[in-house]
């Protein structure tokens, strides 16, 4: 899910420590934040913005294109359903440890309403020079210089490093899409790849994957027919099987979700799969000239 500078953003959970800290940074970067939600503090002003009792109430005050949730796990389902009911079509869910059945519930509601979800357990999305949503160091120009390489990543920290590598190599980033580290996600690698493929500002794509699940394999199936060059890095080659490597979705179970399966699928689709993030830049150069 690529975020755009013209989109208006609501911050659910704006008054919390993280919500406040990152709202200020998003505002400073140029994201059009139009309000916040806290059911217990409706009517106050925070970060210079009106705070509403619900997303539905906020939407009555003006058009809202997207909402970002700084909400603890037990409240995520309710907050997301509120945003969906408010007619908001893009939801970014940063929260980690949301019960998976809650995630599936809100995703079903979102799909029916024609709303899209990024996350849960994502650091968000950045469109350099336009806006960012979530907690990404978008304002660091060494890392997020505008350009024409799209990045889709399951991890925020690693995705940030990859953007730095892309920029250090003399390229820039058209859009960073952090899809999240959970096993069930609103936006999969495949869905993000499709959007970057269709994006006129993107000339090449870097896929930052991880062991676990089959999202990279599904993306590889689509990548076969893509014209834009793809470079991929898959984290977890050295991970012991059966261990959850920090992300709920990053686990090799039996012969499922292995590094080798993902690498092989992506290479068969014509992508260059590199051994460390530092090799992404030379691989891009080889593909893009």
């Amino acid at each position: 899910m690529i975020v755009r500078g013209h989109e208006t953003l609501l911050v659910q959970g704006i008054t919390g420590r993280q919500g406040s800290f990152w709202t200020e940074r998003m505002q400073a970067y140029g994201t059009k934040v139009v309000g916040g939600v806290n059911p217990k503090k409706a009517g106050i002003e925070h970060c210079g913005l009106p705070v509403y009792g619900s997303a539905v109430e906020a939407a009555q005050a003006g058009r809202i294109d997207a909402s970002v949730l700084f909400i603890p796990p037990p409240g995520v389902k309710g907050a997301a359903l509120d945003a969906i009911e408010a007619g908001i079509k893009k939801l970014v869910i940063l929260t980690e440890h949301v019960p998976v059945q809650d995630v599936m519930f809100l995703l079903a509601a979102a799909t029916e309403a024609g709303a899209r979800v990024l996350g849960p357990n994502t650091a968000g999305a950045v469109t350099p020079g336009e806006c960012f949503v979530g907690f990404m160091p978008a304002f660091n120009a060494r890392i997020f210089r505008p350009g024409r390489v799209g990045v889709v990543s399951r991890s925020g920290s690693l995705g940030t490093l990859v953007c730095l590598d892309v920029v250090r190599a003399g390229y820039g980033v058209s859009a960073f899409v952090g899809i999240g580290g959970d096993p069930i996600l609103g936006t999969t690698t495949l869905e993000a790849l499709r959007e970057l493929d269709a994006d006129p500002n993107t000339d090449a794509v870097v896929i930052v994957g991880e062991i676990g699940g089959a999202m990279e394999e599904a993306a590889a199936d689509y990548a076969k027919d893509m014209d834009k060059p793809i470079v991929a890095f898959i984290a977890g080659a050295a991970a012991p099987p059966g261990k959850r490597m920090g992300h709920a979705g990053a686990i090799v179970l039996g012969d499922k979700g292995t590094f080798a399966a993902k690498r092989d699928a992506l290479e068969a689709a014509g992508a260059t799969v590199v051994a460390t993030p530092t090799e992404i830049a030379p691989a891009l150069k080889a593909k893009m000239g």
């Binding site: 990152w22 907690f135 940030t160 920090g246 051994a275 530092t278």
Partner: protein, 375 residues
Amino acid sequence: MNFEEHAAKPLLAAAGIATPPGEVAANVQEAEAIAGRIGACVVKAQVPSGKRGKAGGIKLAGTSAEAGVAAAEILAMEIGGHKVTRVLVEAQVPIAAEYYAAVLNDPETKGPLILFSAAGGMEIEELAATRPETLLRLPVDIRHGPAREEIERRLAGLGLATEQVPAVAEVLVKLYAAYREHDAELLEINPLVLTGDGRLVALDCKFTLDDSAVPRRAELAERGTPEALTGLEAEGRALGLRYIELDGSVGVLANGAGLTMTTIDAVRHYGGEPANFLEIGGNAYVKATPALKLVLSNPKVKSLLVNFCGAVARTEVMTEGVLEAWDQLKPDLPVFFSIHGTGEKEAIAMLRARLGLEPFEFMDDAVKAAVEAAR
């Protein structure tokens, strides 16, 4: 979180799905006593691992004495790395047919998936590969639950005897209800058997509780199998840190799951062996001091690699924590840093001022130096 069979089956029974009468025994005497009460029985190893049958961990016993012999053999086994400490002694069930039934979280449809096959007893992967025509895959809208009529209609095309369809549908509806009630990631019956007298009975059950749902299923989670942890891993868990002990000599501290995995991969790529996985990303970024102490308490560590790329995790806060631990422990170890992202300027200034060290601009160079120093 995984549950052993004896802890999973009561969830089925509570949902109205029949299971054989049985009890858990921790020694031969208990096994004999249970068999004495229930007659011809099956003695089954209780370990959180599949392939118990192939490993010899499931034995039939006709009498109490035979049950004792079987229990003695099984209790001496180690299956899939787990020492067997308990057996389930269950009544034998006359089998007319074996089925497979499960409900699980499906990343592809992003919702619950009901699976059923009239060819049970095999692993589901094997079934899907060899006999896909016998497999029912029914995605469910979690907001409404499955419709019994649809299940019955789909079952009718699977080669199941017509008179079995309503009873199997009933079991699947109950299985789904249990899956929802207990926040299952997976709830599986394999095999679900049709008995000689026409009843459906769950002979085995696998239940995995969604780890993210543990806080709201705390009582249930007490009956799950705790993850096998080393001493250091348990210490990490107590501190709220994700620490995994590995065999190598390069201590690793990084932020975020993806970056930490990548750091370990890079250590291996450049010919070294990582000593641990430890990430302090997300909300744990303020715990750098206890995290570093944990890494350094592993005596195998010969060099330390600190790799930060801050998004939500502020590198100046993490670096401050590392320097704090360094001051306290004064370890005699070479240490190599790479620091980028949120707060990098302050973090790097701090590193220069307090340790007189310069971070590596490229992560790979820090990794190579740490690998070299650990040799």
